[in-house]
């Protein structure tokens, strides 16, 4: 007996359409903002879509040294991120709650990393190896910060289900703007590193020796590359979405806002975060590799503040 609810169906369609269509737009926003900062007109906002379509129609070249790992990584990562998009609380509009367990979300992200790193090592090129090695190093530094921010929020709401913790009718978290704000900032800083954005990695350079993410996907081409790019865009959406949700929760107004306002503001806030990435990339420089742990320390410090707030909240 399934009650067919028009509203729920519409919400689901809106949700799926958002996460399928929004990711390239975010990258478009980042690129456009950066271009404006550099006094250029820049490519059209929808250029990432055109790029993806073009890549899909090209012929593919793969290295003869690769194994099935290389061939299947992009497909696996896109699937994993689609699953994550259904699970993780990246938007206020969630027509269904599938039980977004905090540790499951983190480990699904880690699983995409596992595959990305292996596929980078698969072709046996020096660049792929460099990128892979750097990726695991950065992940190692960032992971505790991400998990502690989310665990602190979960600890206050006494559940590891992020769906419940991030719902706007959670009483335990309603008066915690500090916790939400610090967690949001910590997660945003961590996302900069996880998404290979500026202080950690320069996504536009063509010097493979300094790259992280771009070095890892050097061997991919055509449809495979399109999938890799799309997976990366989806990851941008999900990680920025989670940070923006934290920041939205810090604003008391939104606790009582209507569904529609919440849904629209969540999409808008993701776009604002994307634009702020572009601002950061325009005014900041890429840090030297050895200086990166210091940058990540900010994120870790924020996660530790979150932990302190969570501990004091449950003081008995």
């Amino acid at each position: 007996m399934i009650a067919i609810n028009t509203e729920a169906i519409l919400e689901t369609i809106a949700f799926v359409a958002t996460f399928l269509l929004l990711p390239p737009l975010l990258v478009g926003i980042i690129r456009k903002t950066k271009a404006r900062f550099q006094n250029r007109i820049g490519a059209p906002l929808l250029q990432p879509y055109f790029d993806l379509l073009k890549l899909l129609s090209k012929g593919e070249t793969i290295s003869k040294h690769t194994s099935w790992i290389f061939r299947s990584t992009a497909a696996i990562n896109v699937s994993l991120l689609i699953i994550l998009a259904f699970l993780a609380p990246w938007t206020s509009l969630r027509p269904f709650n599938l039980g977004a367990d905090l540790f499951l979300v983190i480990y699904l992200l880690a699983l995409t990393r596992f595959f990305t790193v292996l596929s980078a090592l698969d072709a046996g090129s020096a660049f792929g190896g460099f990128g892979a090695s750097r990726e695991v190093t950065l992940a190692l530094l960032v992971e505790p910060a991400v998990i502690l921010c989310l665990a602190a929020i979960g600890s206050v709401s006494q559940t590891s289900d992020l769906g419940i913790a991030f719902s706007f009718d959670n009483v335990a978290l309603i008066n915690q703007p500090g916790l939400w704000f610090i967690a949001g900032c910590g997660l945003f800083l961590a996302s900069l590193v996880e998404l290979s954005r500026m202080p950690a990695d320069d996504p536009t350079t063509h010097l493979e020796l300094t790259m992280v993410h771009e070095a890892m996907i050097l061997e991919n081409s055509a449809a495979n590359l399109a999938l890799v790019e799309y997976a990366h865009f989806l990851k941008i959406l999900i990680l920025l979405g989670i940070s923006s949700q934290c920041l939205l929760h810090a604003i008391p107004f939104f606790w009582h806002a209507s569904q529609l306002v919440l849904a629209l503001s969540s999409v808008l806030s993701i776009m604002i975060l994307a634009a702020s990435i572009a601002v950061i990339e325009s005014v900041a420089v890429k840090l030297r590799w050895t200086k990166l742990p210091e940058f990540i320390a900010y994120s870790v410090a924020m996660s530790i503040f979150c932990v302190f707030i969570a501990l004091s909240k449950n003081l008995n």
Partner: protein, 667 residues
């Protein structure tokens, strides 16, 4: 009780398993090298299957029998007890022994004359020891079979005893087993003194007097399981046993000592908070230390061995929390922690056995375990690669594998402790542990992407790796089938965790004394369904996006910047992969890099560049070497007492007698 049909049949199965293995031992002893290895492997497999059958029958019902009563050890007979806690371990033993049995013939046939008999004899003794340790119902029988198990496994470690490496490993392992047996004996004697009974189930660790025994037990288990700082023997000894038995060795030797800890401390209701703190502290350091050294390791099997140190640490922290929760009366957390410890122990045993079989397969094909000489094996060894890959996914606790479920339980234990009714410091500690576990998880991801990526992917770094041959026959041989079997077991447990936890529920109830535990509700994530959805998504993407234009896929060389094909020397190596992380932890790892550039214009046109990295194991040099030095000094000083003169020795006898008379009259 013995007449109950279930008890009788299960008891018969266990006893006949031992009998079959004993028969195998006798046949090897009499027949020597002439006995066909297939026949002996069949005996080994039969024993393993009988053990599995016995475990299956007694799954829900604890049975007690004394079929071996004719073997009496003076203080107590060899009584057996199979309860809900020993059954999962017996099942694991059965599974690993059957995998090893399948892998044995192709391993033994490649051995030189003289080594075959040695292999079979020790393996059979080892299996009997393992099985009887799990069946022992009293301390004396436990100790006897524990010794049989330890010594036979030391013999297996020394199987390749002509090599200096194996000698050293065997000595280190023997030292560790001696220390652990000494402490276990002390703990057992102490408990016997307290309770007047040798029965393991009669010992309760809730009393004041049991604290010392509990500490002795903790030390013993940490030594045998390889927990920091007593883990130094582990990376030496784990790689040494012959291929097939290394699976049993890696999967069970450490786990059996964890089993002992669970049986005595958890089921014995230990309520010493000091033990809990010690276990959590040692476990945490051990997990960090183990995974860090695993990451830096250049030897595939040593990498796996260090990863055991990490996992033993994680299990020990879970046991620590179980004790802690018991002290505070937090039943939910005690249940979670016990379930986590038990499930992770079993999963880790299974996965580690799988990975060691994979490493054995690599070693058989390439004749080296050095990562710098491997690479590109995915082409020539597809099955090994697939199994090793599954094992690596699992040991990094990636969903939807079995270890994710148990690691999730560990995370959940600490997470729930953070808002439980516990002191603030313990709650702070528990959230810190969540962060540390994430850190360890990220390090183990780095470690196993390195193991898979460097060993199996990329281009071959040596001729031997390029010419590697996976199997001795045309199809997959025994070693490959054994790996496939364990890999399938991992995936099956991973995708049906609720069923597995339901199966373990009696054991969890036994550990927590909480009769209301429902196994399947402990882990609410529908891993199997997620895996299914993921599979459907991946295949549809394959079909509709990648497969659409598959005709136009062009195979070409790896991108080379236009320089022409790069040599394999330009590839990432194991050490360079882990170097950035090594730099961050250079203080702990004692990592030093020296670079020497020479040539006329050194800066722009170097003629030769020489880079060397050094790592000194800090614990070995800073802690163990001085202690060993002290022992050396002591023994060389004491040797002066032994002059060889009969008069002096008579004087010693006389003095000792005087001392004894004095002690006897005054105490």
């Amino acid at each position: 009780m013995i007449n109950d049909p279930t008890t009788l049949s299960a008891a018969n199965l266990f006893t006949s398993a031992s009998a079959v293995w004993l028969a195998g031992l006798a046949i090897t002893a009499v027949g020597g090298e002439r006995v066909r290895s297939n026949f002996l492997a069949f005996l080994m497999l039969a024993g393993a299957l009988l053990t599995l059958g016995g475990a299956a029958i007694s799954w829900n019902q604890s049975i007690e029998y004394n079929q071996l009563q004719f073997i009496s050890f003076g203080l107590a007979p060899a009584d057996s007890l199979v309860d809900s806690l020993s059954v999962p371990f017996l099942g694991l033993l059965g599974l690993l022994a059957s995998a090893a049995a399948m892998a044995s013939p192709c391993h033994v046939d490649a051995l030189s004359q003289g080594k075959k008999g040695y292999y079979w004899k020790l393996t059979f003794i080892f299996l009997i020891g393992l099985q009887q340790v799990l069946l022992a119902s009293n301390g004396i029988a436990f100790l006897v079979f524990w010794e049989i198990m330890s010594l036979s496994s030391a013999g297996l470690v020394a199987a390749d005893h002509i090599r200096h490496r194996a000698q050293r490993a065997a000595f280190a392992y023997l030292t560790a087993t001696r220390i652990s047996t000494a402490f276990i004996t002390a703990a057992f004697l102490w408990m016997h003194q307290n309770t007047g009974s040798w029965s393991l189930s009669a010992w309760h660790f809730g009393t004041e007097q049991s604290l010392v025994a509990a500490f002795f037990l903790l030390i013993a288990v940490c030594t045998k399981a390889g927990v920091w700082p007593m883990h130094v023997w582990l990376p030496l000894a784990y790689p040494e046993p012959p291929g097939p038995t290394s699976a049993i060795f890696a999967g069970l030797v450490g786990n059996i000592s964890i089993y002992l800890l669970m049986r005595l401390l958890l089921a014995g209701e230990c309520s010493h908070i000091a033990i809990a703190y010690a276990a959590i502290a040692l476990g945490t350091i051990s997990s960090l230390w183990g995974v860090l050294f695993a990451l830096m390791e250049r030897d595939l099997k040593k990498l796996l061995a260090y990863s055991t140190v990490e996992n033993m640490g994680i299990i020990l922290t879970a046991i620590g929390v179980a004790v802690l929760a018991h002290c505070h009366g937090l039943t939910t957390i005690a249940t979670l922690a016990s379930a986590a410890a038990l499930f992770h122990t079993l999963n880790h045993g299974l996965v580690k056995a799988l990975l060691f079989l994979g490493a054995a397969s690599v070693e058989r094909a390439v004749h080296t375990r050095e990562l710098s000489a491997l690479g590109g094996l995915a082409k020539n060894m597809p099955w090994t690669m697939l199994c090793f890959f599954i094992g690596s996914l699992s040991i990094c606790a990636m969903p939807p594998m079995n270890c994710f479920a148990s690691k999730w339980l560990v995370y959940q234990t600490f997470f729930q402790l953070s808002f439980a009714n516990a002191p603030i410091l313990e709650r702070a500690m528990s959230l810190a542990m969540v962060g540390i576990l994430a850190f360890v998880g990220a390090l183990s991801l780095a470690c196993f992407t390195k193991a898979v990526g460097i060993a199996f992917l990329g281009r071959p770094r040596s001729n031997a790796a390029a010419k590697a041959k996976e199997s001795t026959t045309n199809g997959p041989d025994g070693l490959i089938i054994a790996q496939l079997m364990l890999a399938i077991a991992c995936v099956m447990i991973g995708t049906s965790v609720p069923i597995a936890l339901d199966g373990l529920a009696p054991a969890i109830r036994h550990l927590t004394h909480d009769q209301f535990v429902i196994g399947s509700t402990l882990f609410p994530i529908p891993q199997g369904q997620l895996a299914l959805v993921g599979g459907i998504l991946v295949s549809s993407i394959y079909l509709f996006v990648l497969g659409r234009r598959s005709g136009e896929v062009r195979s070409y060389i790896t991108w080379d910047c236009g320089f022409g094909p790069l040599s394999t020397r330009a590839e990432e190596t194991g050490s360079s992969f882990s170097h950035p992380i090594g730099r961050i932890f250079s203080q702990i790892l004692q990592l030093k890099v020296t670079t020497e550039i020479s040539g006329k214009d050194r800066r722009h046109f170097p003629e030769s560049v020489r880079v060397e990295t050094f790592m000194t194991p800090i614990l070995e040099t800073k802690l163990y070497r001085p202690v060993m030095g002290l022992f050396d000094w002591l023994s060389s000083s004491l040797v002066r007492l032994q002059t060889g003169s009969i008069h002096i020795h008579l004087l010693y006898v006389f003095l000792t007698m005087l001392l004894l008379v004095f002690l006897g009259t005054n105490i």
